[in-house]
């Protein structure tokens, strides 16, 4: 076991445990913070794989998203985002969930070994960022542009919903 293994296990444990706490804690604010820690763990895993750009993007996107989430949690829930002891946390479908999980696990265990993943035992290219940029506006320009159109549509939709109505206009 090398140092890399140990660091990976530490970060994997942080990611998984805080993800678990995120759904089991009764305090909504704590849940959001556990989510941040979990996403940090994912970013750390990206960084360990020398995908530092992905790691930084993960931080930028999700830290802001979680901040918004916290605001929603505080503003849109009864009694703020504190502990809600009266609410039931688990639904009654535990049996069904167990069956689905076991079946999925079984299928994955049978299927995954048949795939032949291309694995290279070589160093990560130094100039990976430039390659990523060229790929985004080269081979993958269509999905890239489609994603941006989707975001633009979301933006316009948000503006349409939030805009001030003129006099006599029906709330739509």
């Amino acid at each position: 076991m090398t140092l890399t293994h140990i660091i990976f296990i530490v970060f994997a444990a942080i990611t998984l445990l805080s993800a678990l706490f995120c759904v089991t804690t009764r305090n909504m604010f704590h849940a959001a913070l556990y989510l941040v820690i979990s996403l940090f763990g994912v970013a750390a895993t990206f960084a360990m794989l020398e995908a530092s750009f992905l790691a930084a993007a993960q931080l930028i996107v999700y830290v802001g998203a979680v901040a918004i989430l916290i605001i929603f949690a505080v503003m849109l829930t009864r009694g703020g985002a504190g502990s809600l002891p009266a609410e039931r946390q688990f639904n009654t479908q535990a049996g069904l969930a167990a069956v689905v999980t076991v079946v999925t696990l079984f299928i994955l265990l049978r299927v995954v070994p048949f795939f032949n993943y291309p694995v290279q035992d070589a160093a990560v290219p130094v100039d990976i960022l430039t390659q990523l940029g060229h790929a985004l506006v080269g081979d993958f320009v269509l999905p890239f542009e489609v994603a941006s159109v989707l975001l633009l549509a979301a933006l316009i939709g948000a503006i349409y919903i939030a805009r001030e109505r003129r006099k006599g206009e029906v709330e739509g």
Partner: protein, 421 residues
């Protein structure tokens, strides 16, 4: 006498430390880990020393701007004032409000301080000398050399937002919560022009690595990227929550915002976070726009600090001259002015750079011609933007608040006493 590449005192010290560790028979891999820790320790200490110095400097400068003298009793020119403040902060009572979420309440100042310190990891204080010093690469003259330097600064800048939210929520105080809500609105909004200006920098420099950006500056990027520099500086001030963008703490409106319930050392950590972040913004501006460490005669790191403190002086000047924005003005300024201007700027730079490249004027070949042409384009765009801003401001003044004759606007009847005289 060993020949030191780069002829730099820090490289010499690092080589010396490595040789000592080699001579007592340590494993080279282990030495590299130790050196990384030493580097982190030095950077952290540097940031804290700078923090002490700029608290003193800021109080002196604000005093001069407001026609006062400022701290002058502790030590020569009041230089020991930060130490006195530190002792005071340590001896203050550590209070925790009733109903506070204690763990988060205590963790939040630490997150704020650490998030601010993280930026310094990628700021280069000198050129990477290359070559070998005691069997290991000599450089870099930075915490670490990352290919995504600028992007990393954005990423860790976002973390301080979480610290503010944690503090605001866990304090169990409505003013603190209001402050942290404002923080989310302000910091997320000003991230947009910041990202756009960073996109412009990366487009022109062709790299995100801080060291390579400095080396790409055949002409200081403040000229070809004039608007970008302004937008980045303004949004940097907003991101570090300094006046005129200090809506997050706005003493006159929400008492002190998110750190209202903090006392002693915990408050100091927030204070430290703000100042260290502000100086980091200045360091990034120095690195990206002002040629970084480059300069004649003096060693690189001294040049770096001279320029950074120069930028910080401008920041203080703005802070003590401008009144605070209202929250709607803050948002309107960002979304209706900074974002469109930086989008247009991005367009102008992309087109300008490409056109100049086709006629054979490139950054590498004729830097000053290239820089000055783009500078002129920047100025045109800047004046057009300011003209449009002035026009729309005049229009909104005329339309939204029409001048209506007041109904009580009649002259009072002359008093009988005055009439009799």
């Amino acid at each position: 006498m060993i020949q030191i590449p780069g002829n730099d005192i820090f490289i010499a010290l690092a080589t010396w430390t490595r040789e000592i560790m080699l001579s007592i028979g340590l494993d080279p891999a282990f030495i590299e880990i130790v050196m990384a820790f030493i580097r982190a320790l030095l950077l952290g200490t540097m940031a804290l020393l700078v923090f002490m110095l700029i608290t003193w400097l800021e109080r002196k400068v604000v005093a001069r701007i407001q026609d006062r003298i400022g701290p002058n009793l502790a030590g020569p020119w009041g230089l020991l004032q930060p130490i006195a403040d530190g002792i005071k902060a340590i001896t203050k009572e550590d209070t925790t409000p009733n109903g506070a979420d204690v763990t988060i309440f205590n963790a939040s100042p630490i997150v704020a301080g650490v998030a601010a310190l993280l930026v310094y990891a990628v700021i280069p204080f000198g050129p990477n000398p290359g070559g070998e010093c005691a069997g290991a690469p000599c450089g870099p003259m930075a915490g670490t050399e990352m290919s995504i330097g600028l992007f990393y600064i954005l990423a860790v800048g976002a973390v301080s937002l979480i610290a503010v939210l944690m503090a605001g929520w866990s304090s169990n105080n409505k003013y603190a919560l209001l402050g942290s809500f404002r923080a989310v609105a302000e910091l997320l909004s000003y991230e947009v022009p910041q990202v756009l200006s960073i996109a412009a920098m990366v487009m022109i420099a062709g790299t995100m690595s801080m060291t390579q950006i400095v080396e790409a500056q055949t002409v200081p990027f403040i000229f070809p990227l004039f608007i970008t520099a302004l937008v980045f500086f303004i949004s940097g001030i907003a991101e570090s929550g300094r006046s005129p963008f200090d809506l997050v703490e706005a003493e006159s409106e929400i008492v002190a915002g998110y750190h209202i319930e903090y006392s002693g050392m915990k408050f100091s950590l927030f204070f430290l976070g703000e100042f260290v972040h502000a100086f980091a913004v200045c360091a990034v501006v120095t690195t990206v726009f002002l040629n970084g460490w480059q300069g004649p005669v003096l060693p690189p790191w001294i040049w770096f600090f001279i320029k950074s403190f120069g930028v910080f002086f401008i920041m203080m000047w703005i802070k003590f001259t401008m009144p605070r924005f209202r929250i709607d003005q803050l948002m309107a300024f960002n979304w209706k002015f900074l974002v469109p201007v930086s989008l247009l700027n991005l367009l102008v730079l992309a087109v300008g750079d490409t056109v100049l490249k086709t006629v054979g004027i490139t950054r590498e070949a004729s830097p000053w011609v290239w820089g000055m042409i783009l500078f002129a384009a920047n100025l045109v765009l800047l004046f057009a933007a300011l003209w449009a801003l002035g026009r729309s401001a005049r229009k909104s003044r005329l339309i939204k608040r029409p001048i209506v004759a007041r109904t009580d606007d009649v002259k009072p009847a002359p008093s009988p006493v005055a009439a009799s005289n």
